[in-house]
Amino acid sequence: MSKSLPAMTIQDVRTPDPKRFIPGATGDWEVVIGMEVHAQVSSNAKLFSGASTGFGAEPNAHVSLVDAAMPGMLPVINEECVRQAIRTGLGLKAEINRRSVFDRKNYFYPDLPQGYQISQYKQPIVGEGKVSVSVGPDREGRFEEIEIGIERLHLEQDAGKSVHDQHPTMSYVDLNRSGVALMEIVSKPDLRSSDEAKAYLTKLRTIMRYLGTCDGNMDEGSLRADVNVSVRKPGGEFGTRCEIKNVNSIRFVGQAIEFEARRQIGVLEDGGAIVQETRLFDPSKGETRSMRTKEEAHDYRYFPDPDLLPLEFDQAYVDALGRDLPELPDDKRGRLIDSLGLSAYDASILVSDKAIADYFEKVAAGRDGKLAANWVINDLLGALNKAGRDIEDAPVSPDQIGAIIDLIREGTISGKIAKDLFEIVWNEGGDPRELVESRGLKQVTDTGAIEKAVDEVIAANPDKVEQAKAKPSMAGWFVGQVMKATGGKANPQAVNDLVKQKLGVEG
């Protein structure tokens, strides 16, 4: 949409950094990226009709008279979509425009029944804002914090879907999506690498998931991105951009930018010029190709939709929505660091995905935060990663992990046994506390039994006893032997104390 908007003055807010440069034959290049993200508003009904927005229904099952553009039908704004747009705007720390206008974007296409899309052109509901993005971690495990400007957010209707593979000569049209509310979130051209672009899109998705304003399911089309890419000599004038349309996964965004930047560098280094155009990304070939040039661009004949009055609300309306916003990822991250004492790294990982954060908060409730973070990050996320599963279908629940942590804290099981217990719960399920009982995993804290085991090990290894007297750290060997002999169930602290006492070493 930016290509039809009045030209805006672009300010370069970033400092060129060699670590992001792309080497070319004639020296280094810098890529400049801006994104237009289309996010489907989480709402039960469409933007201007009462039809359902449910995903996966039979074709044309969710179509009202308005969506099918029957003669004489009129749009009526769905207030829930307006609320969601304002809440998203607040989440992007953006200016909320208390008066905005819906316009018609006119073009013919079979899956656009009205012959126009109702959108917002010159007066969007949300103005400028900003998003903090953590890019990384790099090889040293560090995150870089960057700030990306938001140009605007506006509400618009989605189109239907043309289905071309059902008939030898005809196409079918499915209007289930026709009229579904989208938020188009336009960034400033502040992104300087494919990693930044991916991190930005991920962060947007996280913010909207925290807010519950967009489910962010890219495979269902709930989130799509148009990516504007240009290249330039570092710090130089902005180059001519190409817009890559409708990229539907974060990974593809990265691939499309990488390909497009190299393509443009190639053209320029060969003495050519970049033609402003719209391109498509082909995931199977990993390349972008021309869709239409600027000259072929539609003239959308935007004008205010006379069926809809300007959208107006007062500051109290915005304030009330602001008061009810949930904690956002940046705030949550701060809280995890400040009040739970987590490292910045751990906190970043935990808040990066609302589902992980929610999981973690359940585990951490009433428990040691650091211990909870270790278990969620190292054990749970590690196992999920290995199994290629999402946290939504983790086989171990927060309550189960919590119980394992409690068992450690109570001294009922050792840390090592806890790992085994986690694996049992992961594979077989069950109540950790009951499993400890039924499988005999309980830690032996009976000093008599432990003492007996220590005595046996000492008696069986007189040579090692001599060595240990000379080198007290050898006590560790005895502890290991005792643990082995007790099947790992002995309380390690008690073993340690007894071994040292019997050997007569201090440590």
Binding site: A69, G72, L74, R104, P110, G115, F303, P306, D307
Partner: protein, 494 residues
Amino acid sequence: MTELTKKTIAEARAGLRGKEFSATELTNAYLDAIDRANPSLNAYVAVTHDKARAMASASDAKLARGEGGVLEGIPLGIKDLFATEGVHTQAASHILDKFEPRYESTVTANLWADGAVMLGKLNMDEFAMGSSNETSFYGPVVNPWRRANGDNKQLVPGGSSGGSAAAVAGWLCAGATATDTGGSIRQPAAFTGTVGIKPTYGRCSRWGTVAFASSLDQAGPIARDVRDAAILLKSMASVDPKDTTSVDLPVPDYEAAIGRPIKGLKVGIPREYRVDGMPDEIEKLWSQGIAWLREAGAEIVDISLPHTKYALPAYYIVAPAEASSNLARYDGVRYGLRVPGKDIVDMYEKTRAEGFGREVKRRVMIGTYVLSAGYYDAYYLKAQKVRTLIKRDFEEAYASGIDVILTPATPSAAFGIADEDMAADPVKMYLNDIFTVTVNMAGLPGIAVPAGLDASGLPLALQLIGRPFEEETLFQTAAVIEQAAGRFEPTKWW
């Protein structure tokens, strides 16, 4: 039965309540009249005999029980622009061939809820674009009025609600729904000696009415006299959650305004409506109207509406712009006419080329042009600014204490079908709306009321323009003119 069709709605209402005749008798009288007259007048594009009789019979049952709404058993004609469930709804266009909606417009639903009976769908200019009812795919409507000189020349009934006006004037319905975007109720009413009111924008719901120019379109009635128009508007008007431009204000009892004295009412006479080349008889009619109102005790005040002359050109930018977009949905994909093509674009082009008539195409082209990149600011934006100024002219007049404004309704009486001047120059046709478009541009209510005959014996009308949502003042004042001027009926020839 002929007398039954000559009754006004008020008279028929009394007759039905008094059991002088039944709704079925009344309806059958109209159906007979339509069947006899329609080959000559072409006012109806569809006659719903069965539905009409069923509705009348239901009304009779209610009336027998002493029940029924305010329009119980009153047979009405419905402009083809209003969606009527299961019934021909084509905006008199080829492109909506065989279109019968599964929904009922809010305006007609209101009428049926009050007990009215539907006789059928009335002819009109295609998509309400025209001032002579000659752009209809179903052919021109013939005005029941003829010149007194005996030339028997067929005249237009005006447009776009030409079928509505001709049916009301020719006793083919007790009253009719109509719509007005630039004068489409008032000009045909003026050409046929009937009363037509375009209420304030937002007074009637636009839901279920095929859109021409959304910011200007407004439904209203055409009726035999002022009282009937008041009765009909009361039923048609409502706030509607399905049309967010409809206004949530109580609908007053308009009929009660009739007969209220106008003593002390301030009537504005805008000097800018005295246009170049205006025929003497229009000038005379206007002076006569002023005299009548003065005699009735009104205070006559000369006023200025300085931006009047820009209204027509601005209207012919705004209305086509909106129309070009509103008519984009007629693409052959989902309903109506489809002319096959070799690909989708070819299908669009063939369908729209065949489905739309010349005038509709002309306006879609004008509208597309004025919204195009590079022309938008010069045309559309400028026209919207003019619109604001026109609105402000009226606001200032009303702020200065003016209650109602009196102007001629049209610059002439009805003209001949296939008038060569108008066919050669569309602008001549557009000039028919010169006194009426300002009212749409400002969103105000306006009523056309018959005030006399021209030298050839054709009806002429005056227009009253009111403050927003003060339709009562219009009925009150129009009734005074009607009282003074008398009522006008054509001599039946069909």
